[in-house]
């Protein structure tokens, strides 16, 4: 992390990394989705709708991982004053918000044929919706702070406080046993049959690479905008 504190050094890493993440992400995500739609059998209970798993689970993972990234950037900024930490936090938020929105949308669509409802104020669904609103709040706060020339410390504190919602999302299916199913995939194994499960690692890796590419592209855009602003200030002085 500290080796990339210098923006010039970061850009030397970020330029090729963006291209590779985009290419690998597209291949894995498209391959995984195609396999999930055509090569796996239907579930004995859910039938064909189980195929929504291959996009819903990566979106849920990235919605939460995005905020974990914001929390990490916030610590890095508040403790070590890492020069790219605020940029990384601001760049991560739109990608995290997008995947939280994908998770909510695909979950709602999956819920209609499976549960008979588009939405229920269940613990998992509600905490995920709160995460989406937290992202919107972070985006608004961080951009307002940047426009006023702040260092992004208020947004960093907000990022840390918002991280309280992550364990709530994770354990919501254990704390409140309502509509959303319990954990199917844990560190010790999975209750999903391997004939259905195998494309999931492909889409998980693919969408994670695309998420990484989006974050790097936003960081490069922010650094270039900062360079333009600094140069214009020097020219007008």
């Amino acid at each position: 992390m500290h080796a990339l504190a210098n923006p010039a050094r970061f850009l030397r890493f970020a330029r090729p990394a963006t291209t590779w993440l985009l290419l690998v992400g597209l291949v894995l995500a498209v391959g995984g989705m195609a396999a999930g739609l055509t090569l796996t059998p239907p579930d004995y209970l859910q039938g064909e709708t189980v195929r929504i798993l291959y996009i819903h689970v990566p979106a849920a993972w990235l919605g939460m991982a995005g905020w974990l990234g914001i929390a990490g950037a916030s610590v890095s900024q508040l403790v070590w004053r890492h020069p790219l930490a605020a940029v990384a936090g601001r760049a991560t938020a739109p990608a995290g918000a997008t995947f939280a929105a994908i998770c909510l949308t695909t979950g709602s669509i999956w819920g209609r044929p499976t549960w008979g409802t588009w939405w229920e104020w269940d613990g998992r669904l509600t905490s995920m919706l709160i995460l989406f609103f937290l992202y919107l709040g972070y985006i608004a706060l961080a951009s307002a702070e940047r426009e006023r020339g702040g260092e992004g410390r208020i947004a960093a504190i907000y990022g840390l406080v918002g991280a309280i919602n992550l364990p709530v999302i994770h354990y919501s299916v254990l704390w409140w046993r309502t509509l959303h199913q319990g954990q199917s995939i844990t560190v010790t194994g999975s209750s999903i049959d391997s004939s259905i499960l195998w494309p999931l690692p492909l889409t998980m890796a693919g969408f994670t690479c695309l998420f990484g590419a989006a974050v790097l592209m936003r960081m490069r855009a922010e650094l270039a905008e900062a360079k333009v602003e600094a140069r214009l200030r020097r020219m007008s002085a």
Binding site: A29, A224, V228
Partner: protein
């Protein structure tokens, strides 16, 4: 209930939102880097 319209709608939404994110991020990066390069050449 035919499940395929739900499956197609879910994949369509996921692909459209991911593509929108990537296109927006790529476009903003290209514009910002082009502006920085143009200013450097001045």
């Amino acid at each position: 209930m035919n499940p395929w319209p739900f499956v197609i709608a879910a994949y369509g939404a996921a692909i459209a939102l991911t593509a929108a994110l990537l296109l927006w991020a790529h476009g903003s990066m290209r514009r910002a880097e082009a502006a920085a390069d143009a200013l450097k050449r001045k």
